[in-house]
């Protein structure tokens, strides 16, 4: 028996991290990342121990040790001492097929071979020639459950494996209605349940607050006297009005939020929507939403235009101010230049007046030969002026000034 079993290996793989341990393992053997007992333990340069898979994942996100945040690279991770690996591999685990009924437990390093070769609840290939189905190892010597058998009630071909679930919904079998306990054929049951007279239902006006419940067959008696049902048309109207008002309130709030806080300007192209489109109001909420979004666009557009104009005005103001300053400077400069020129002219005029004065004085004194060099020079000038033209006279006059 044993050899025939081990020849059929289970393909089921074992997730070591999902295993349950017989005794809760020491906290020292847990990986700080996955909080499970270490699987393929590795050690970092800073001497912390992790599962090999966990630290690789962590290093992909951040190149630091998760425990002490020291810099760490993939090369700084080496296998942990064999002793640690042995300690975690020797921990006793429960078989992963425990929920199916296997009560085996073994050391963790043996669990894979247990599932592969021994566990009666691991799924293996069906023993029947040509059958591709899977079956629990303990049932492998039984008849193949993948063969089709005929349902004894509806004469339908069903796999043996599915027979149990088929019997629950076989169309020729009947089940009890959960409300009235009457038996019904399976296909008709769901139709019956939808309007079973014995089902306890809420008053039709329960959403307006009527707490009354009764079997469906008696609900007509209640509706005649129920105050809530009498008020239903009014309540309905109010509900509709509240919905409309809420929607309107929302729209207004959105508009208000758009107007009050300063918001970044949208690009002008995004505001090309036409507000007139929104006037085709069909009353449905989707149209209202369209309208608000178009309203938003339109407001954005106005807002951006306003901002543009404001910045234009500011720019122009600045330009005008600049020009003013320039003109002032030019005027002041010009004034200074004129002042300088004027001073120069005044000096020149003064000089000329002095010369004239002197000339007049010297001519008046010319007939009386008076004293020294100055008198001699004056004589010469006097002679020149009498004999030569005006130009020569002015030349000699300049000479005298130089003297």
């Amino acid at each position: 028996m044993a050899p025939s079993r081990s020849s059929r290996n289970s393909l089921q793989s074992v997730d070591l991290r999902a295993l349950d341990y017989l005794a809760s393992p020491s906290a020292n053997l847990l990986c700080p990342i996955c909080h499970s007992p270490l699987i393929t333990p590795v050690q970092t340069r800073c001497l912390h121990t992790f599962c090999s898979a966990c630290i690789s994942l962590s290093l992909e996100r951040s190149l630091t040790c998760p425990v002490d945040r020291k810099d760490l690279s993939h090369d700084d991770v080496t296998p942990a001492p064999i002793m640690i690996a042995n300690l975690v591999n020797d921990l006793v685990v429960l078989c992963p097929n425990r929920e199916k009924g296997c009560e085996a437990s073994c050391a963790r390093w043996l669990v894979e071979s247990h599932v592969r070769e021994d566990c009666g609840y691991a799924m293996v290939k069906c023993a029947k020639e040509g059958c591709d189905g899977m079956v629990a190892r303990k049932d492998v010597d039984e008849d193949c459950v993948h063969e089709a058998v005929e349902c004894e009630f509806c004469e339908f071909a069903v796999r043996k494996l599915d027979l149990e679930s088929h019997l629950r919904e076989c169309p020729k079998l009947s089940s009890e209605c959960p409300h009235c306990a009457e038996p019904f054929l399976n296909p008709e049951l769901s139709i019956h349940i939808a309007d079973c007279p014995a089902e306890i239902i809420d008053c039709p006006a329960s959403h307006f607050g009527c707490p009354y419940t009764c079997p469906r067959s008696e609900v007509d008696n209640h509706t005649g006297s129920c105050h809530f049902i009498a008020l239903t048309p009014i309540l309905q109207l109010h509900t509709e009005r509240i919905t409309t008002l809420e929607l309107e309130n929302k729209t207004i709030r959105q508009k208000l939020e758009l107007l009050i806080p300063p918001r970044p300007l949208p690009t002008p192209s995004s505001s090309s929507s036409n507000p007139q489109d929104s006037s085709t109001n069909t009353g449905s909420s989707s149209t209202t939403r369209d309208m608000t979004s178009e309203m938003q666009d339109y407001t954005y557009h106005l807002y951006s235009e306003y901002e543009q104009l404001r910045s234009d005005v500011e720019r122009l103001n600045a330009q005008i101010r600049e020009l003013d300053v320039k003109q002032d400077m030019a005027r002041i400069n010009e004034g200074l230049r004129y002042n300088d020129e004027m001073t120069g002219m005044r000096a020149a005029i003064n000089g000329l007046r002095m010369q004239l004065h002197w000339l007049v004085a010297s001519r008046r004194d010319a007939p009386t030969p008076n004293s020294g060099g100055a008198g001699g020079a004056a004589n010469r000038v006097g002679a020149g002026s009498s004999t030569n033209d005006g130009r020569r006279m002015s030349d000699s006059a300049r000479q005298i000034v130089k003297l």
Binding site: D15, I33, C34, S58
Partner: protein
């Protein structure tokens, strides 16, 4: 699978023991947990208040950090702290670039508990209004600048 197995183990440990001031509010599935934390000393900002943290785990947990935010529920507010936005988003390097897979739900709760304990400023982070209005709910999309090491 990896994430679920590890979370099952953490849940088992949490049910056995939790440090004082930390409690489990709900952990019905293995993708969203809610934890209650309380500041134990007499810090007037947080005295007698219980705050609720929400942990959102991805399939890559614990390699990837969980998304941890404070949540507002009936009678439970978002604590005042210069690193906690009023929509509950927490600016904490441990939950971002400095996450390490060695951390777990318990250690994150304790970090946040001590972050509250040592705080004395009754204020929100700068730019809270804009941040909340911008509507970021998922801390993963935010590049926080961890500029303040004092808290």
């Amino acid at each position: 699978m990896f994430a679920q197995k590890r979370l099952q183990k953490e849940l088992h440990n949490i049910h056995n023991y939790l440090p004082p001031g930390i409690g489990i509010a709900s952990a019905s599935d293995l993708s969203i947990w809610k934890m209650d934390i309380q500041v134990l000393d007499t810090n007037p900002l947080y005295a007698d208040q219980i705050y609720r943290l929400q942990f959102k785990f991805s399939q890559s947990y614990p390699i990837e950090a969980p998304e941890v935010t404070f949540v507002k529920e009936d009678g439970i507010e978002i604590p005042m702290h210069p690193h906690i936005y009023s929509n509950g988003v927490i600016c904490l390097d441990l939950l971002g670039k400095n996450w390490s897979p060695v951390q777990n739900v318990e250690s994150v709760c304790m970090s946040i508990q001590s972050m509250l304990t040592s705080n004395t400023k009754n204020e929100r982070p700068p730019g809270d209004d804009n941040f909340v209005r911008s509507g970021y709910r998922s801390p993963r999309n935010i590049n926080f600048v961890y500029d303040d090491d004092t808290v």
